[in-house]
């Protein structure tokens, strides 16, 4: 049986000094090994929700917090963010402002050092991660002298250092060039499929994630509007049409005009290949 990795139950949060709640009664569950996309317009509460997953809310950001978040059955109210680092790796949007050490290698070692891991184990773990993410060339470089994509790669490596089962990413490709963004997303897919990491990512480039994401959660003004597998979400009326990724959007337009769904297929094609196959079979 697949275990529940994240259980979010009736979570609300209001930042101190804010006028309104950033999250309103959000409830959903993520099973171990799932790849979840978190979508929503700017200011819809995506970052706030993600920060609840490793206890930054309510431990680091003060405010009114209600409901519970459980990570593998452990409530985030009981352990603080540093403790949760073993379960949840967190990667932030700004590549530059999350690397505090003087070299890439040091940054990867940093969480292990914090947990008092013996030196020889730190070295072997760093070796492992550098090989996994192909970072040999930048291993001894200073974070200042590498590109944004490489900085983000460094942050992912650091988030993976303690081998957490869950990886949370907050718009990590927003500051990257399209090529680096695709590279990072492909890498995340690999971490999910090969290394069984549960991944939850807030992302604007939905198009590039459809071939590997399992589920999508759509937030609007702090409320969870739709949550489910991609098919269900894209067919749902709650999901705004202007947020639909290119291929499903094109297909649904075609469907409206000439009726494709329900004929031979009941699923919306998500990728170029799927759409071509659907059209070809017709």
């Amino acid at each position: 049986m697949v275990e529940t990795a994240i259980k979010i139950d009736n979570v609300s949060f209001k930042y101190r000094n804010a006028d309104s709640f950033a999250l309103k009664r959000v409830t959903f569950e993520v099973a171990e090994g799932e790849f979840i996309l978190l979508a929503g317009f700017s200011g819809s509460g995506k970052s706030t929700l993600l920060k609840c997953l490793n206890g930054l809310i309510p431990h680091f950001h003060a405010g009114r917090f209600g409901g519970t978040v459980e990570i593998f059955g452990e409530s985030t109210l009981e352990s603080d963010t540093p403790q949760l680092a073993k379960q949840v790796g967190f990667v932030f949007q700004n590549p530059e402002n999350q690397i505090s050490n003087l070299t890439v290698e040091r940054e990867i070692a940093f969480p292990l050092e914090n947990f008092g891991v013996p030196k020889n184990e730190i070295i072997s773990r760093v070796d492992e991660l550098v090989a996994l993410l192909n970072m040999e060339e930048i291993r001894y470089r200073s974070p200042y002298s590498i590109s944004g994509g490489e900085q983000q790669l460094t942050a992912i490596a650091a988030a993976l250092a303690l081998d957490p089962k869950i990886l949370v990413l907050d718009e990590v490709t927003a500051h990257l060039s399209p090529r680096s963004a695709v590279h990072i997303l492909t890498l995340l897919n690999e971490l999910n499929k090969k290394h069984k990491k549960t991944i939850i990512i807030a992302e604007h480039r939905l198009d590039r994630c459809l071939n590997f994401a399992d589920k999508l959660a759509f937030l609007e003004k702090g409320q969870l509007k739709v949550f489910g597998d991609l098919q269900a979400v894209f067919q749902s009326k709650e999901f705004p049409t202007n947020m639909l990724p290119k291929i499903p959007s094109l297909f649904l337009k075609l469907d409206k005009k000439i009726g494709l769904l329900g004929d031979k297929t009941s699923t919306i094609p998500l990728t170029v290949d799927e759409l071509v196959a659907t059209l070809n079979n017709r």
């Binding site: 963010t81 949840v88 402002n97 040091r106 050092e113 947990f115 013996p118 730190i122 200073s142």
Partner: protein, 280 residues
């Protein structure tokens, strides 16, 4: 323009043999050398120290930059030497003035070399070795880590406000200070934002998760560090011996510029000569 400064911050990526010496050894060495250089007031010992300094500077990859900085320093040093030679009211003023000049050259070399090869990382690790709290050491190396970012950002901010018509170097002092406001506020605001984001990031990486933090790298004395430390201690002992026992140096080390070559005398002769030249 100012981005050139940033090359210095890529320091961790260029290693020289001098970089591998333990910072504690280097600090001890510079203390000993400084004491000796200041205590000794003879030309020959100064020259010996200077000659000994050259290979160190060479191996520290510092020769080029040192010579460049000397280019600016030499006029100052010459001025110091000449003024002292002319106006010091002691025996052999020229000798003392030359010693003074040599001292400045030597100290600029040693201090430059040490600044060049001791990284903030070394400093923070030394602090950790001396039982300072880790957060303190972390703050030092992180501040350093963000200097180039800050410099880059400051340049962008200056460009942005110039593009909105801000003229930074116009007007009287009061106006110039006022002109700094549109630069300083964004600089502080972004720095503040950054510190929040950094705090979130390190929390998420397990900051202070355990009391017994380990380190990927920590300072360890190698055989060559022991040599450096012993050498420094020997030099320091020599200094103490010379200073406390008040022994005089061996005769071959004492050389004084003969009286007939005193700068003051040469100067007066030249003066007379010129006067004669014009009176004829």
């Amino acid at each position: 323009m100012s981005l050139k400064i940033l090359e210095y911050f890529n320091y961790l990526e260029h290693k020289s043999p001098m970089h591998y010496i333990d910072p504690r050894g280097k600090t001890l060495f510079i203390i000993a050398i400084t004491c000796l250089t200041i205590y000794l007031d003879q030309i020959i010992p100064m020259c010996i120290i200077l000659v000994a300094l050259l290979p160190l500077i060479y191996f520290g990859n510092f020769m080029k930059r040192w010579l460049k900085s000397l280019l600016f320093l030499i006029p100052v040093i010459l001025l110091v030497v000449i003024l002292n030679a002319l106006f010091l009211k002691i025996d052999y003023p020229t000798t003392i003035a030359i010693v003074l000049g040599l001292r400045l050259i030597i100290l600029s070399g040693f201090f430059g070399l040490i600044f060049q090869t001791v990284s903030p990382d070394d400093i923070s690790q030394t602090l950790i070795k001396f039982k300072f709290p880790y957060s303190f050491a972390w703050a030092i190396s992180t501040a350093y880590r963000f200097i180039p970012t800050l410099a880059k950002e400051t340049n962008i901010i200056i460009d942005a406000q110039k593009s909105r018509g801000l003229q930074i170097d116009r007007g009287n002092l009061f106006k110039r200070v006022r002109n700094m406001i549109p630069l300083l506020i964004p600089i502080f605001a972004t720095a503040l934002r950054r510190s929040w984001q950094l705090a979130e990031a390190i929390e998420s990486r397990g900051w202070n998760a355990t009391k017994n933090r380990t380190y990927l790298y920590s300072l360890k004395l190698k055989w060559w560090d022991i040599i450096v430390i012993l050498l420094s201690l020997t030099l320091f002992a020599l200094f103490l011996y010379l200073a406390i026992a008040d022994v005089s140096l061996p005769f071959w080390m004492v050389y004084k510029i003969p009286e007939r070559f005193e700068l003051k005398r040469l100067f007066l002769i030249a003066w007379e000569w010129i006067k004669n030249l014009f009176s004829k």
